[in-house]
């Protein structure tokens, strides 16, 4: 390779040499010209093969070579070789070359019409959720969801709510081990962490994932996440505990969510989820939760254990999803007695809560179309008093089941127009539960 930066030095040397030609010793001059020729040959090995004999001609040859080198364009620096050399990208329609990934605002919305049989219907802008994220670097990322429920919030009145649904930092260390801290979604069940309206059938979320697993369930916490390879992923957190003082017979543990407000970390709950997503269109998951919930109670500290398994599977134009969840509440007899002393009534909380559902669905339009029409049915059975503590009797109205039949039309993968009819039943011959008609539009952007 020719070092053009050496050339000016040699030209200057030649310039200094020229005036000395007349009086200098010829042997000294010849030695110095010879040195220059040797240097030139380092730049161009072919130089001086047919060198003239006399000193002046050799100097002129050096000058001419210098001129040519100075006039020659500098060679471009070789391009940096990145470890993965991009060759082509096709099918992309919004490429970005920004070094920092600054995510735009995104979100989802849910607009419903619900009508219980025998009652007038009601419109409800159920959820208006905005998501914000930011990548501080490739290893530190922020994510959040801010939610407005039921459209209106007024001070002190039971209307809507503004809630921080999640807000956390991810510290990405290795694929199999990363750290996460902040307001986290409890990793239990199918819907709690994957609740964007187009991602599930039905206007409302499944009853089992509303009553037995109280979505949207979020708590303060921290923990580890990772991809173990071969399709296995996990999340393991320590989270603020439920408040057993707010449990009841109808909603089970749902009232005990702190949602990060005055959350207790005195006895943090241990929560974990293991997922398998190694085969196309198959996702399996199992979750556990274990934690004490008595921080707001006097002298009793019941332990809450939850176990759930769930799965989603797609075959051709068929899709299936299902979930089973069981909750154990220890010392529920003492809990009922304690709350009865405080509230003046027996909350009749069960010692075990259990629920399950199964949902087959069929896509009526061919896969190649941009639109989709899904017809589904779902059977759900859930009982917030599956087992009762000694001395307490279960109430049959809390042993519930539903058949849900409906359709989801997607003019776009991110827009879902939904309809369903719920045939709701319970084991009571006295207290009946009404059937429900639901219409809704949900979208993600």
């Amino acid at each position: 390779m020719v070092n053009v930066f050496a050339c000016p030095v040699i030209v200057v040397a030649l310039g200094l040499l020229a005036p000395a030609l007349g009086g200098a010793q010829s042997s000294d001059l010849e030695r110095r010209v010879l040195q220059l020729e040797e240097k030139m040959r380092k730049l161009d090995p072919a130089f001086g093969r047919d060198a003239p004999v006399d000193l002046l001609s050799r100097l002129e040859a050096l000058e001419r070579k210098m001129e040519r080198l100075l006039q020659a364009p500098a060679e471009p620096a070789p391009p940096a070789v990145s470890p993965l050399q991009p060759v082509s990208v096709s099918g992309d329609y919004q490429a970005s070359k920004d070094a920092e990934t600054r995510l735009p605002v995104s979100g989802y919305m849910d607009f419903h019409f619900n009508k219980n049989r025998g009652d007038p219907g009601q419109f409800d802008f159920h959820r208006f959720v905005l998501l914000f994220g930011h990548s501080f670097s490739d290893r530190i990322k922020f994510w959040s969801e801010l939610e407005l429920e039921h459209a209106l919030v007024e001070g002190g009145e039971e209307k809507g709510e503004v809630a921080l649904e999640q807000a956390y930092l991810d510290f990405l260390i290795k694929p199999y081990f990363n750290l996460r801290a902040g307001m986290l979604l409890t990793p239990v069940g199918l819907v709690n962490e994957r609740h964007e309206p187009p991602s599930f059938n039905g206007v409302e979320r499944p009853f089992v994932e509303t009553v037995i697993i109280p979505t949207t369930w979020r708590e303060m916490g921290f923990g580890a996440t990772g991809d173990l390879g071969r399709g296995f992923r996990y999340r393991a957190y320590l989270m603020s505990s439920l408040n057993a003082a707010r449990f009841d017979a109808r909603q089970g543990i749902g009232g005990g969510k702190t949602n990060g407000f005055e959350a207790s970390f005195r006895n943090p709950a241990k929560v974990g989820r293991l997922e398998y997503v190694g085969l196309r269109r198959l996702a399996l998951g199992t979750s556990f939760y274990s934690g004490h919930a008595g921080f707001d109670l006097h002298r009793i500290n019941p332990r809450i254990n939850i176990f759930s398994v769930d799965g989603r599977y797609g075959y051709r134009r068929l899709e299936f999803r299902g979930l089973f969840a069981n909750t154990w509440i220890s010392r529920s007899g003492e809990l009922n007695a304690s709350l009865e002393r405080t509230l003046g009534r027996n909350p009749n909380i069960g010692s075990q809560l259990r629920g399950a559902y199964f949902e087959p669905a069929v896509h009526l339009f061919p896969r190649r179309l941009r639109q989709d029409l899904i017809v589904f049915t779902r059977y759900e059975k859930y009982n917030t008093q599956h087992r009762m503590p000694k001395g307490f009797v279960s109430l049959p109205q809390f042993d519930r089941w539903s058949w849900v039949a409906g359709a989801t039309y997607k003019p776009n993968a991110d827009v879902a127009i939904k309809f369903d009819y719920n045939f709701n039943r319970n084991a009571s011959s006295v207290i009946r539960v009404a059937d429900t008609l639901n219409l809704g539009i949900g979208w993600w952007f």
Partner: protein, 112 residues
């Protein structure tokens, strides 16, 4: 190493006409890529065909300077070609907000 880099560069320049040494289908779905760990040989011309099962996702490979969009289901697929020039482990990730679990939608390319 220098020879491999030069070969990789030459391959990159000629890669459009060359048939990929390996084509890998990747499914993108809230909130994972499947497969999420992809092993390729050093020097190989690799093509990823990435299709979404739901919404738009992004596909960013920082080591290749690639950040492209994966079209939502029913709107086609993304094809990315690159030459695995140097041994190592290189992450890829979803670069478009796709929902509650977006941050963990990641994977790794292992060049051996």
């Amino acid at each position: 190493m220098r020879l491999v880099a030069l070969l990789a560069l030459a391959s990159a320049l000629l890669g459009e006409e060359r048939k990929p040494d390996r084509t890998i289908s990747i499914v993108a779905e809230r909130f994972y890529f499947s497969p999420s760990r992809i092993v390729v040989k050093e020097g190989a011309l690799v093509e990823f065909v990435v299709a979404s099962e739901d919404t738009d996702h992004g596909f960013r490979i920082p080591a290749a300077g690639i950040d492209a969009a994966i079209p939502q289901q029913g709107k086609g697929e993304l094809r990315v070609r690159f030459v695995a020039a140097r041994k190592g482990k290189y992450p890829f990730e979803c670069s478009r907000a796709c929902g509650a679990g977006h941050n963990l939608m990641r994977g790794e390319i292992v060049v051996k």
